[in-house]
């Protein structure tokens, strides 16, 4: 398969970026999207090493930078905005799980980084998502230290609640929800963590404090507010549900007015 790629190139956070156009040929349909970019990068390097970095058909000598690691949809490191959709045109997958068979031969593909104020560009398609870590650091955990905890089976947890907690805990922190949202809201990401912990007895103790701290941190870091369009849910590769945002709101109200934190469906 052959493709024409329009790729966002930006040297670093301070410089202005622009689209550059590249062509790739003879790509196998079984090739993953990132492997296709590997092939492009191999071409850029080879071409420039031969032409001594001058008069090359590639005006930018260094290969296209993009984040990735596990390449199997679990680390949350990859994330490209492909033809206007975070993680591209397939449902329930990350960019690294997207395969070229999802495109048509001859397609033009537009590739951009996440665009959201709290995620500044570092280089080309790589952005800085440390804001997510900061939100978690503000309280997205159960405050236990190592050792001195009760036996794991001492508190039975209804399977239904454990399963719902797991549904929420599957979030990989990729940031697609923020990139998809016109307000750059992080409500799905935060909602997922708040729900995961609030659904379990171990996490309920701090539920009020947690939601307050995380939401304040999210605001402070410049994420926008949620206006219930749910573009986040539509683009989330782990299909994290909007119900998690509702649960967050419920926890938020509880912490203001008081109320019980017993999990509800």
């Amino acid at each position: 398969m052959n493709f024409k790629l329009h790729i966002w190139r930006q040297e670093n956070a301070k410089t202005k970026g622009r689209f550059e156009t590249y062509k790739v040929r003879d790509i196998s349909p079984d090739c993953s999207f990132l492997e296709m970019l590997d092939i492009l990068n191999e071409q850029i390097i080879s071409e420039n090493s031969k032409s001594g970095n001058q008069n090359s058909k590639f005006p930018i000598a260094h290969p296209v930078c993009f984040d990735n690691d596990c390449r199997e949809g679990i680390c949350g490191m990859c994330g490209l905005y492909i033809n206007g959709r975070p993680h591209g045109n397939d449902d329930g997958v990350t960019t690294c799980q997207l395969h070229m068979r999802k495109f048509k031969d001859g397609d033009e593909i537009w590739i951009e980084p996440w665009r959201a104020k709290p995620f500044p560009v570092i280089c080309d398609l790589v952005v800085d998502r440390s804001a997510f870590d900061k939100i978690i650091q503000s309280g997205g955990y159960v405050s236990v230290t190592t050792g001195g905890v009760p036996d794991a089976n001492s508190i039975p947890i209804p399977k239904r609640h454990a399963d719902m907690a797991m549904d929420a805990a599957e979030c990989i922190g990729c940031g697609a929800c923020v990139a998809a949202c016109k307000n750059a809201s992080a409500m799905l990401f935060v909602g997922a963590k708040v729900s995961h912990l609030a659904l379990l007895p171990q996490g309920q103790v701090e539920a009020s404090e947690r939601v307050k701290k995380m939401v304040c941190k999210m605001d402070e870091l410049g994420f926008g507010s949620c206006t219930n369009t749910y573009a986040c849910e539509a683009e989330c590769p782990k299909q994290i549900k909007r119900q998690n945002i509702a649960r967050l709101n419920r926890e938020w109200i509880c912490q203001i007015f008081g109320g019980n934190h017993k999990p509800q469906d």
Binding site: E72, G76, I136, Y141, V144
Partner: protein, 651 residues
Amino acid sequence: MILDSKIPEGPLSEKWTNYKTNQKLVNPANKRKLDIIVVGTGLAGASAAASLGALGFNVDIFCIQDSPRRAHSIAAQGGINAAKNYQNDGDSVERLFRDTIKGGDYRAREANVYRLAEVSGDIIDQCVAQGVPFARDYGGLLDNRSFGGAQVSRTFYARGQTGQQLLLGAYGALSREINRGTVKLHTRSEMEELVLVKNNDGVECARGIIVRNLVSGKLERYSAHAVVIATGGYGNVYYLSTNAMNSNGSAAWICHRKGAFFANPCYVQIHPTCIPVHGDYQSKLTLMSESLRNDGRIWVPKKIEDSEAIRAGQKKANDIAEEDRDYYLERRYPAFGNLVPRDVASRAAKERCDAGYGVGPTGLAVFLDFSDAIKRLGINVVKQKYGNLFQMYQKITDENPYETPMMIYPAVHYTMGGLWVDYELQTTIPGLFAAGEANFSDHGANRLGASALMQGLADGYFVLPYTLQNYLSNQITIGHITTDTPEFDEAERSVLEREERLMNIKGDKTVDFFHKELGHIMWEKVGMSRNEASLTEAATMIDELEKEFWQSVNVPGTIESFNPEMEKALRLADYFELARLITADALHRKESCGGHFRTESQTEEGETKRDDENFMYVAAWEYQGHSKPETLHKEELNYEHIKIATRNYKN
């Protein structure tokens, strides 16, 4: 040099308690005066840093990725072992210990393995307290599954994402310490050098590291009273493996160059159930969790004509009648069936494919079939248990495993070898510790499924917080260590020189070109089976390739910038040296054991044949300079508790 493994006195089951009772501690006021560097934020690194931070030490933690949560541990699928005996099926610390020693083919240190089994239950308690959503049964209690090499169900799991959930638990604990200010986080930071400084007795101790800031490309200096290496395994020396793209062996190798011994490098685990290779552009291999062998049955056609027809696309798996299927694991190993340990299952798959019975377009694949399970349990139960794995398989291969059997083939997965450590997890360099996959400690010649997560968390939560204190207790008077010294100058200069040398080659080949070539040599000649001829050949090929690399690699861009090609080149440069050591170790170990299969040493049935008389030791190698043969030191293994036997999974 005599290797002192510092195994405590007393009967096996009391050693750890004895150690803890008699070790030295650091009082709370003094903990604040002590700095610790932890390199790596996987299960081992994150759990260690969180626990040490909570105790009150000052910790600096480093990782390559943009967030600690993305360490390779996140990808672990199947589960974590613990001797809880919640299923009342006869499990115990003793049994987990025995299974692990046996699974490792009697090449692991008894005392370490026993301690691992002993703390395994605490790990589960800790994780549940953190809010790890393990699978539960309808009564609300924890559920278990079985993994290879065990006849009990002791594996705890969170769907097919156990590693993710455990790591998020540790990441939460780590985040809490970052918030409290006890731990400082450095992301997109790669350790490039270890700094040694002489103590008052003239002994060189680990005192700091040089780090490449991956965003700016600048080098940074960090000092500490102790350094912990928790940087994972070196499986990517094979290029294609189930490891993440950034997994690498460099941090361990850097320590090795500085004097830390490297143990058992040839023990590499090849995992039997991975999605087969499909093209030369491929960048990694995807694991299909071992848990699938609980319910999936592995087979190839009985008749070679059927295999040929399948390869040619004329027949499909479902066209082969039941009586024409060879469930070769069930046939050869009736007692364990599809749940034999990984090395056994991998070699059996290779044996069938080499004999011409393989399936798939390349002939290098076998079937993993769920039709019986679907019949027995119903599609919904199967979906619940393995849904995300099936989805992952379908996304990659475009085939529906609910309808046609999966195709799988072995792939490089885990490295049992690593930095040599004593009972305290200290390397041969004082003050330098190693945890998780980066050390060699607990798995002998083969690791059992679901035991790496257990080991990483045991090291980080329950071992290092004790043993590091024992070391640090006599460092209190040293005070903060400055980085403004000749030792740091020299270390930084050596890194810069290396970077400049790579940058200035300006050759015409990419880093990946060389990495693929190296991977090819390793897989073909130092892979699932090895012999004197293949290993000797590999050694020469590695030397030649390395030479070519240093003449014609092209690293584009500049040193001081965001430059992934530079990162890769630095790692690959170390892989050449590591590959050479793996080969030398495999060549010297003339026996077969666990994951190390020398074709010269096998039984009539093609099973591994150990040579306990000559090789019952840990091979710890000492660096002697680039491309010089390394010096071998032997740590004899003394089995006082367990009865040594031939591994037998047949009956």
